[in-house]
Symmetry: C2
């Protein structure tokens, strides 16, 4: 016997209209009615496929995505994954590249609203008061992907950047390196700037390793800044034995600088990246990198935005942390037999 | 003395409403009125900045872009350039990645129409009857970028792919190569498939060079196909001395295959790419490539779409061909002193 919408209404003790408003994901449904309807749906095992179908009619089926930089290998990979998952769920994807510009971000958020997109994924962390106001008052769910949301009310899908940088640094220490350099990102970015840098610093402290001040330099995540900063490191009287870059693009820039000066990687200097973008596998030597599960991150982001959109009972209530993983490739050498602890 | 709209109307012998309709870029203005108004604007030197301002009010200021594959370095570079130019003109850019899927393309074109975008840039060549019907009946200008439009009524901004491949092949011949291999794209694509392949073939014929059939192989423009096909070439009893790939990504795949098997580029085998994407400069050795002016292509595409949108008197009447250029990097060697003719 098929469960019908009126059965759900009866069980929940609300009107059919109320159930329908919940199913349609309308915003102004009281928390009480929402909970009763969702509980009734659960108890009666009301078919989600029917929900999906009934939802479809009044919807634009469109999701907007804010990307900070389309030329970055990291973002193009995560976008492909979001795109693929969106297709499975029947969503159209509208991508807006803000080129790191906050006033563009705000403008595109307003366009998304006018278009009545059903949800928004933001992959940019820097923000301002107007943007925070917009997302607080937005009529559709907003999810942050690969970055920390500015507000605890919003879900982020990301890795533990602090722990990942800590683990990467410990790996280098265990490989026998003590002259370790760090090429950081923008310290205004919490996730990829501060957290990664703090993880690096704390791992050094824990192992009682001190490094010269000039071993720590900050760029903009992009390839040319990695190349330039590596040039400064190579010009030191005592260059480091390994360079840990806060992005793979900076690691590739550093790699090329070393090769262009006639040195070898990893024989003369080791290099470690962060992100696990496809570029780490494309260059030679390939680059050892602290890998974010980029593909999974896109997929999980879209799936959970979908749950927020349909107000699924399993929709996320807190940030979703994915697992980082160190992927060893060719660019890091061990300084001595690995028996340091 | 400032020229006013009524001066334009008087000079053109039409009503102020007609001038205003022309200025607003409305579709159903007769060719006769359009010409008279545009001529009057020219003769009176009516301020284009005023036109721009008066246009602004009723417009969405949004442009839609159809991209076949966001993970390709070529498309992400051209998109950055379109984005940058769009910003200068005050347009918002909405990007849709169709992942080479024609039914997605059609769906996104309909979404663009519902959104009332002011113009569309399509960077995908394969098409079908429904898409051609859509673009013929579209209410906004559509411009093709980097590919040939399916219909002479639509403007394309592109290079002469045939001539570019011809010139690249002649360069290899002049460098003393006769054992030349070609890694092609999809022959269903006119621009990047057929035209490049025909340019290659004709340059060989002109120089009376014949190559074994197995020196010509076809992939999908992406890196893994270049790697795989290069493996097949290296397994031949007599491998080629140079490989000309129809995309830089395939060239990088071929490069990595050679390096991974312990051979050297260009000492053991030379490699030439096509497109001039940033990846040619990132890998080591860097890749000699027949370069499309990617950045200029994005800029010129957006500028001319803008001219079509505002029905500017200098709007394009025919395809715009940009200049290709061979950029010599490290991956091609000369077989003997260059005195072949």
């Amino acid at each position: 016997m098929t469960v019908k919408i009126k059965d759900v209404a009866r069980r929940a003790g609300v009107s059919v209209t109320s159930v329908s408003r919940v199913l349609n994901g309308e915003k102004y449904v009281s928390e009480d009615i929402l909970n009763r309807v969702n509980q009734a749906i659960e108890e009666l095992n009301y078919s989600p496929s029917y929900i999906a179908r009934s939802l479809k009619k009044q919807k634009t089926n469109t999701i907007g995505v804010i990307v900070p930089d389309l030329t970055s290998n990291f973002y193009s990979t995560i976008l492909s994954s979001i795109e693929e998952t969106a297709s499975k769920y029947g969503y159209n994807l509208i991508v807006c590249n803000i080129a790191e510009n906050l006033s563009k971000e705000l403008k595109y958020l307003h366009i998304f609203q006018e278009m009545r997109v059903e949800g928004i994924i933001i992959m940019h962390e820097k923000t301002n008061e107007e943007i925070v106001n917009f997302i607080r008052n937005a009529t559709m769910p907003i999810l942050f992907s690969s970055v920390q949301s500015p507000d605890a009310d919003f879900i982020s899908v990301l890795i533990d950047d602090y722990q990942a940088a800590y683990d990467a640094t410990e790996y280098l220490i265990r490989s026998g390196h003590t002259a370790i350099s760090y090429l950081g990102g923008d310290l205004e970015d919490v996730t990829s700037g501060q957290n990664r840098y703090n993880g690096f610093r704390d791992a050094l402290s824990k192992h009682h390793i001190t490094i010269p001040e000039e071993y720590v330099k900050f760029g903009d995540y992009k390839l040319p800044s990695g190349h330039r900063l590596m040039g400064e490191l190579l010009a030191l009287a005592q260059p480091p034995t390994v360079v840990f870059a806060a992005s793979d693009d900076m690691a590739v820039g550093a790699l090329n600088c070393v090769l262009d000066q006639g040195f070898r990687v990893p024989e003369d200097v080791s290099i470690m990246g962060f992100d696990g973008s496809t570029i780490t596998d494309i260059v030679r030597p390939s680059i050892t990198s602290m890998q974010q599960p980029i593909y999974e991150m896109g997929q999980v982001s879209l799936e959970n935005l979908h749950r927020l959109i349909i107000r699924d009972k399993h929709r996320p209530q807190a940030d979703i942390m994915l697992q980082h993983q160190l992927v060893e490739r060719e660019s890091c050498k061990t300084m001595h037999p690995s028996n340091s602890r």
